[in-house]
């Protein structure tokens, strides 16, 4: 049921568990680390199956080309080559993948390999299977593909011009989605504001994640049972199943997904379903298991990139006291060549329409386009970090152009702590927070007053000092109903996660969850909450590593993505643990001849609260239920299994397609970052002198794991701000598809990060926690803010999220050149 427009309804407040606290909230050492630090983790490339072959993909060197012919005969003639799979075969064996876009983009025919035409450099054209990875690669070099190169388009805005080459003829244009989000009355605000700040163009660049483990899989199509086993590092297996199943005619019952350790994902391993499909088809053709591990260049060129977005014609109404009323903007999001998770990004950003601020009037004219570049996919902070970067740029530019203090302007416009739960203009509910307190703390951490002094002292030294601030939100636990805003026909809404908590014969407590962790420490945090609820040590709780569909702990959106485990995953674990606790108490009460209300669980025992000496260890409970059940009354025996499954379901309703309003996500963790940078006047080189991040993510289950995530997200963002940017030439050739040219930030590039925290428990989650870990791209805003602060008077605004030395050099010189600055102010 939808919430009527204009009517405010918050979620029901959730009664939070009073059993958490002995282990939850403590920085318990990670259970996973014992095996990982000893090199005993099991990643995809560690897996092996009898008779397996190795796969190498032949990829298109052209960004756009018709495939005239493919000759695999020389490759197949090589001894040790088992089979090949061409795009032409795929066209016969696979139905196009299901599309989430409405028509006409929904007509797109997307296959697991190029069929008839290649649309980006690196697109798979042929798969070669051989007895070794080396032989497969050598054989791939013998495959002869004749291409007819076509005109290329790489500009995300120019691609919608009539003369641009069309990527997908069945769509008829390169527009993937278009819609206008209009909240409040932005026209009124622009007419009545004391000032209107106009910004010509801002650009959020294309980058991605660089997980230590690239994408890979070991896939076996069992010819006898017809079951396809996918051992992979896909991070959202049930989403993958939704695409793979209909495409190659497999029911969910014929797809078995599993993973153990995954060496990082950050979202981009969600869309590996295309490769899994190709591997399944190749396995069926060859009659043997197939294994593929992506090389680094394949990963950079052809896995998934983060969304590139350009913002045009930004207008910001501002009152003379500094109140920012909102903004309007035209946004062009470049999805690359295919819609593998898109156009969800065209609505995901709307989870954070006003950012951390009380903007009431917002209009975003949003167009998603197709270009001859690698398809995009979710990437840490997916779709929101672009929008949040825009907002932080707006706030800084307004402050500079209208001579407001940047700190005071933020404090004035932030959603205030007493306003939570806070309803945004589009009906989202920010659950809790205290942004002014976070700002105050982060400025202390970078010694703001000292930095101001240093900035004054540096004048004329050739080293310019800049101070930057970036506020951001980490919205977590998606309502998949938001997909209906982009396509009302999509059958998705809500969210959930499943878990099973069991007490086994010898008193072992085992937890299985539907998540697929990639370093987030699920084994540890799930053990902590289970231990709290069952009254035992986390050491006694075994949490199954990784994902296994056979464990029956999955729902439609199971996986690890979008900052939600602390809510959905642990919500499911808590529910299942509570059920198990109830059963243990029942059995214990019966065995002790007491009332259930007299029972407590502590130290792995069921005991009488009034007489702890009267106690039964968990093994006694389990052994009775499993092996001595005739001792129990029949009614009790029939009602307990000690094997409890629970599905956590957030309290979502379906957003409204017409008004584009609704509750799009459940929790809003936040971060405020600040930095002091030194900009070399001669070279444009940026050096970070001080960096701090203050995090708020509700009640923390394991503070050390949270701090690790803050560090990771900050490093990722700093890398993107200064070093990491995918650059294509006009022919669609990616110019930096190796680590020689794509510089992923290392520990040598990331400065010491001072961290702080505040805690504002979410009233809407069973443990008061909020999902976190994406970080919202705060460093991109912070570094841009700091660079702008360091620029000389009259310089062009910082217009790009990526600011390497060359770009900063140009910005420094722009002041002397005296050209347009990319911004104008109209005051009344």
């Amino acid at each position: 049921m939808s919430t009527p427009p204009g009517e405010t309804t918050f979620y029901p407040e959730v009664e939070q568990s009073d059993r958490l606290g002995v282990w939850s909230g403590k920085s318990v050492p990670r259970k996973e680390d014992k095996r990982l630090l000893k090199g005993q983790g099991a990643f995809v490339d560690d897996l092996w199956m009898h008779r397996q072959g190795h796969v190498h993909f032949v990829r298109s060197p052209h960004a756009h080309a018709r495939i005239v012919s493919i000759d695999v005969s020389r490759a197949e003639a090589l001894p040790g080559v088992y089979a090949t799979l061409t795009g032409e075969e795929v066209g016969e064996l696979q139905q196009p993948f299901f599309q989430m876009a409405p028509e006409p983009a929904g007509l797109m025919k997307d296959y697991c390999m190029a069929v008839g035409k290649a649309r980006y450099m690196g697109e798979p054209v042929v798969a070669v299977l051989a007895e070794s990875a080396e032989l497969a690669r050598d054989a791939a070099a013998l495959v002869e593909v004749v291409y007819e190169p076509l005109e290329v388009v790489v500009d995300g805005i120019a691609t919608i011009e009539p003369q641009a080459p069309v990527l997908h003829e069945e769509i008829g244009s390169n527009v993937a989605w278009h819609g206008v989000y209009d909240y409040g009355d932005v026209d009124w605000a622009l007419e009545n504001a004391d000032h209107v700040v106009r910004i010509d163009r801002l650009h959020f660049h294309r980058f991605s994640s660089t997980p230590l483990e690239t994408t890979g899989a070991l896939v076996n199509w069992d010819p006898g049972t017809g079951v396809v086993e996918f051992r992979s590092n896909n991070q959202m297996p049930m989403f993958a199943a939704m695409f793979i199943g209909p495409a190659i005619g497999l029911g969910i019952d014929h797809m078995q997904f599993s993973s153990q350790d995954i060496g990082g994902g950050f979202g981009i391993k969600i869309t590996s379903y295309t490769y899994l499909t190709a591997l399944a088809l190749l396995s069926r053709k060859a009659g043997r298991p197939v294994k593929w591990s992506e090389s680094r260049w394949e990963h950079l060129a052809a896995s998934a990139h983060g969304n590139e977005r350009t913002f045009l014609d930004i207008e910001v109404p501002v009152m003379s006291d500094g109140t920012i009323l909102g903004f309007k903007v035209r946004a062009f999001d470049d999805a690359g060549a295919y819609l593998r998770y898109e156009p969800l990004g065209a609505v995901i950003w709307a989870q954070v329409v006003p950012g951390n601020y009380r903007f009431k009037h917002v209009r975003v004219d949003y167009t998603e386009t197709l270009t001859n570049k690698c398809p995009v996919g979710p990437n840490r902070g997916y779709s929101r970090l672009q929008h949040l970067w825009l907002i932080e740029r707006i706030v800084d530019i307004v402050a500079k152009e209208l001579n407001f203090d940047r700190v005071a302007l933020r404090a004035l416009n932030y959603v205030q702590p007493e306003e939570f739960p806070y309803e945004t203009p589009n009906g989202c509910i920010y659950d809790s927070g205290d942004y002014p307190a976070m700002l105050e703390q982060v400025l202390e951490l970078i010694d703001y007053e000292g930095a101001l002094k240093r900035k004054l002292e540096s004048a004329g030294s050739g080293k310019r000092i800049g101070i930057g601030i970036g506020s951001t939100l980490d919205s977590g636990t998606n309502n998949f109903g938001q997909s209906r805003i982009i396509n009302s026909a999509l059958p998705f809404s809500g969210n959930g996660e499943a878990a099973v908590v069991r007490l086994d014969l010898y008193g072992e407590i085992t937890v299985t969850i539907g998540t697929s962790p990639q370093g987030q420490g699920h084994e540890t945090t799930a053990a902590q909450v289970t231990a709290d609820i069952l009254g035992c040590s986390p050491d006694l709780v075994h949490v199954a590593a990784g994902y296994n569909k056979a464990a029956n702990t999955y729902v439609g959106f199971s996986g690890t993505y979008a900052s939600q485990f602390a809510v959905t995953g642990l919500g499911a674990v808590m529910g299942a643990a509570e059920q198990l606790r109830g059963e243990i108490v029942k059995v214990g009460a019966c065995m002790l001849g007491a009332e259930e209300s007299d029972i407590e669980l502590a130290d792995g025992f069921v005991r009488l609260a009034a007489n702890p000496e009267a106690a039964i260890p968990f093994i006694g409970i389990a052994a009775t239920v499993f092996a001595n059940v005739a001792e129990l009354p029949g009614e009790l025996a029939d009602s307990v299994t000690l094997n409890c499954r629970y599905v956590y379901r957030p309290p979502f309703t379906v957003p409204d397609h017409e008004t584009k309003r609704g509750k799009l996500t459940l929790t809003y963790a936040s971060q405020v970052h600040a930095a002091v940078v030194e900009v070399d006047d001669e070279t444009g080189q940026v050096t970070i002198l001080a960096y701090a991040a203050v995090d708020e993510c509700g009640r923390k289950v394991n503070p050390k794991i949270v701090e690790g995530q803050v560090h990771g997200a900050t490093g990722h963002g700093i890398g993107a701000a200064l070093y990491e940017s995918f650059e294509y030439d006009a022919d669609g050739q990616l110019l930096n598809s190796t680590f020689a040219d794509y510089h992923a930030a290392t520990s040598l590039d990331v400065p010491h990060i001072a961290t702080g925290e505040i805690e504002c428990p979410s009233p809407f989650t069973p443990n008061g926690a909020k999902g976190m870990g994406e970080g919202g791209g705060a460093p991109l805003s912070t570094i841009a803010s700091a660079i702008e602060d360091a620029l000389p008077e009259g310089a062009h605004i910082v217009f790009d999220s990526h600011n390497n030395s060359e770009r900063v050099y140009d910005l420094l010189r722009s002041a002397a050149l005296g050209g347009p600055r990319g911004v104008e102010v109209i005051s009344r």
Partner: protein
């Protein structure tokens, strides 16, 4: 990518031309080139073996002589492939007599498709210069040997 260069050799222009216009002879002296096959007066093929970050990367090249002014100018177009990487090349070479021998001026326009476009974007210019210089040096050496 456009790369150009100039080199002077202590060999007469006619002598140098005689060797440069005989790929079979030239090939024997060239480092990193194998399988030279002459198809006709305008067409020949060869395999170059440049070292890139991928290791030795054999590039199979098909050449066509598109313009020639005997003794002084030649323009050659080539297409090649290295696995899934593609290469296009147009090379013009002009010889001019000097007091000490010959000055060879050359200009190449190179297009790469595939991972090599990324890997070679900084190294390609130097790689080409080395290769062209090697050809000219080899031709000069053969000419000198012929004379001797």
């Amino acid at each position: 990518m456009i790369v150009s260069g100039e080199m002077s050799v202590a060999v007469g222009r006619e002598e140098l031309w005689a060797v440069l216009s005989d790929p079979q002879r030239l090939a024997q002296a060239l480092p990193g080139v194998s399988d030279v096959t002459i198809e006709d007066e305008q067409h020949f093929s060869a395999v170059a073996h440049p070292f890139t970050a991928l290791g030795e990367t054999p590039v199979a090249l098909e050449f066509e002589i598109v313009e020639v002014r005997a003794g002084e100018f030649v323009a050659i177009a080539a297409t090649g492939s290295a696995g899934e990487n593609l290469l296009t090349l147009t090379l013009s070479l002009e010889l001019a007599s000097t007091a000490d021998g010959t000055t060879a001026s050359w200009r190449a326009e190179v297009g790469l498709r595939g991972v090599l476009a990324s890997l070679l974007q900084r190294g390609l210019a130097e790689l080409l210069r080395e290769q062209v210089d090697a050809v000219l040096c080899a031709a000069a050496a053969i000419s000198t040997a012929d004379r001797g």
